[in-house]
Symmetry: C2
Subunit: 389 residues, 2 copies
């Protein structure tokens, strides 16, 4: 019979600001954001802090209060809520309820803001609560880890876990703005500092050969925590992620996920290790495995594979975790392939490499080649790890 | 300091199909939808039914099973979940949990569907659960009331209530498709049949004079439940709503809400009456009040106002509810104005009329004029109601 057709586009825009000491009274970045988005209504802002950040930066809360005292653009809600950091924040639905409660209690409307300061986990939780409160309160992200500054915190996704299922509840909801302050990175553990670097290797390998060469050249500086080098890595990695999101399929309506290069095994590895392996650490192993598979299936030359494996070792990643071992069809890590396929909605789409900086999608992975790839990676590590660093 | 700029558009498209007896085995509409969106993966569909609909259509569940048995496009999940209809479904967060549970239990992924059959309340709940599960499962709406077929079920909003706050949690998430089956309307109560007509009066008054004249001419047929007349009203009303959503601000990022003409008092009236006054009934009163205010403030001529009030009476709407009485600044209904202002984020924007079919935005309502308008409406009703029907 008859039908009506609806069709429209919605435009989303936001900026990622790079700064130092965001809440120093002489840093105008934050106030300038509000000045450049003027309005004739009262705007409120509600801050949520990652406990790990608050502990490592004991003056942060008072700095925020002082900063907002000296401006008229936006009204700071007196309560600054501090919540536990890390994955635990995404597992505790009571925290989601607490945030929604605060929106109600403080009368935060669709012209007001919730700002989250923390790692990717806290940003994911607060972003989700903001996205569904009043059908979307404006959300400001202030990521404090390498991973969240160069990847998770600058994109369009949020989410919480549900009965242990990662990101089971969530939305696509671009932030109002992101502020990357490199001073937060100074207090990261070495593991958290290093972990996020693998996402830069990942995006370089599928998008930008010159960025990959730059990482090769700067691996030692990155490992020794040179902040200026890290600043460049974060800006370039963020830029590549942003460009990809904007040019492809921002809300992931299709089945391709090039930015998930190396991630099918990484997700499973995190889970198998009961999250004792960090996301970025698992991604490093996933990159090693899928790059090796690319070589073994004839897509990538061995000298290029060796450059990839070597840069991971130079960055001090351990790619020899026993969970990556694939012996037969029953090896636990292989279930990651099935789960990734289910996540995509039934059709498997995996990104492999044909060159440093060039990805290629395939729709099948051969178990025999995967067994060989996992043996190659595990042997490579033990054979050469001693030589290289 | 420096910044990166992100900017992209996301396109949304869906169709509203008009049909009769959607699940008759010889009706291809539903299967055709899946055929016209082919895929090489297994798609599942999970049905959720409004108890009121299931009770009034006792053969519906078996009709659905038979319908899906004879096609290969999509796999019907054997459980068909029946939940209570009406506002109660949006107040019970246990139902939201139950839906999310089902998504998990049945492995419904982002290429699968949740279909909801019911009134606007059930559609709002199921649409919300679908929107946040896996960051958005495809959602099919099968609205069964006049209001949901011509307004709430065809748009982009969903939501549930939180601690009695209407639509406190929700998202903007366009459906995958909408199927309007007029046979469902046959079992509505007279009140539910009539109630949704006021949204047509509303959208005609701000968008389309000829549609308003048509409603004037067909009021008697609409009241006597002539289905063909209602079919036209629903298509045209849906079309005007769709056009507005597509041309203006689909995700309501700004402050204007022309489709909320008459709604500031309607929302409050529903609440003051403890929801014994239906949404559409309250909207009829809100239209009467704001049209009269338009006349009293010199925007609209009195003969046009009289045509509006008369059409509402001809449609058998009661516009004399005592809650609409405004005596002074403390009259409860006036709080609706403040709440509407808060909902918009601080700046009041009210649509008034300058003509039949032409709205105009104002940012202030005068309390003295509102007192006069409410008296005019209440007196008009009692003076002429006996004459006109
Ligand atoms: N939304 C997305 O697109 C996306 C993408 C990738 C990953 N993620 C999510 O991001 C999360 C991981 O985020 P993460 O790697 O940033 O780690 P995290 O959020 O788990 O934080 C790790 C730890 O570091 C602490 N911490 C954070 N900043 C600190 C600082 N400056 N100084 C000292 N301690 C600090 C935290 O309290 C926490 O204990 C996962 O939940 C993952 O699912 C989301
Ligand atoms: N999402 C939006 O854009 C939007 C817009 C306007 C209103 N709404 C929401 O819609 C809801 C009101 O929806 P509604 O007016 O459709 O009423 P409703 O959903 O409250 O249903 C009213 C009653 O009719 C019963 N019913 C439904 N279809 C029937 C049928 N065919 N035969 C017999 N009984 C039937 C239901 O069981 C219920 O008891 C409110 O919650 C309102 O907030 C949403
Ligand atoms: Zn990642
Ligand atoms: Zn309405």
């Amino acid at each position: 019979m008859s039908f009506l057709e609806q069709s429209f586009s919605v435009k989303f825009e936001y900026k990622i600001h790079f700064t130092k000491s965001l809440f120093h009274t002489d840093n105008p970045t934050f106030t300038d954001f509000f000045k450049s988005n003027p309005t004739d209504v009262l705007r409120k802002i509600f801050f949520v802090l990652d406990q790990g950040v608050a502990d490592a930066h004991p003056d942060l809360v008072s700095a925020i209060r002082t900063y907002f005292d000296q401006q008229q653009e936006v009204q700071l809600i007196p309560e600054i809520l501090i919540i536990q950091g890390g994955e635990a924040s995404k597992n505790d639905t009571g925290l989601f309820d607490r945030l929604v409660e605060a929106v109600d209690q403080y009368g935060i409307d669709r012209h007001s803001y919730i700002a989250a300061i923390g790692g990717g986990a806290v940003l994911d939780l607060v972003g989700y609560a903001a996205a569904v409160s009043h059908r979307g309160i404006k959300h400001i992200r202030i990521p404090t880890t390498v991973l969240s500054q160069n990847d998770s915190g600058i994109g369009v996704k949020n989410g919480i876990n549900y009965k242990g299922k990662k990101n089971f509840l969530g939305t696509f909801a671009p932030p109002a703005a992101v502020f990357n302050d490199d001073q937060f990175l100074l207090t990261l553990t070495d593991r958290d500092w290093r972990s996020g670097i693998s996402e830069a290797v990942k995006v370089a390998l599928i998008k930008d050969p010159r960025f990959f060469y730059w990482i090769e050249d700067n691996a030692a500086k990155l490992v020794s925590r040179d902040l200026e080098t890290m600043d460049y890595l974060i800006v370039r990695c963020a830029e590549l992620h942003l460009n990809h999101i904007a040019s492809a399929d921002p809300f992931e309506m299709g089945s391709a996920r090039p930015l998930d290069f190396g991630h099918w095994s990484a997700h499973k590895l995190e889970q198998l290790s009961n999250f004792s392996v960090l996301h970025g650490e698992a991604v490093a192993m996933g990159i090693a495995l899928d790059s090796t598979y690319s070589f073994l299936s004839g897509l990538l030359t061995e000298d290029k594979l060796l450059r990839i494996l070597n840069v991971l070792l130079h960055l001090s990643f351990d790619i020899s975790n026993p969970f990556i071992q694939i012996n037969d069809d029953e090896s636990p890590i292989l279930r990651g392939l099935t789960e990734f396929q289910e996540h995509l909605g039934g059709k498997l789409t995996i990104t492999l490499l044909t060159d440093l900086g060039t990805g290629k999608e395939v729709h099948h992975m051969d178990h025999q080649l995967l067994i060989a790839a996992s043996n190659y990676v595990l042997n490579f590590t033990s054979a050469t790890a001693g030589l290289d660093h």
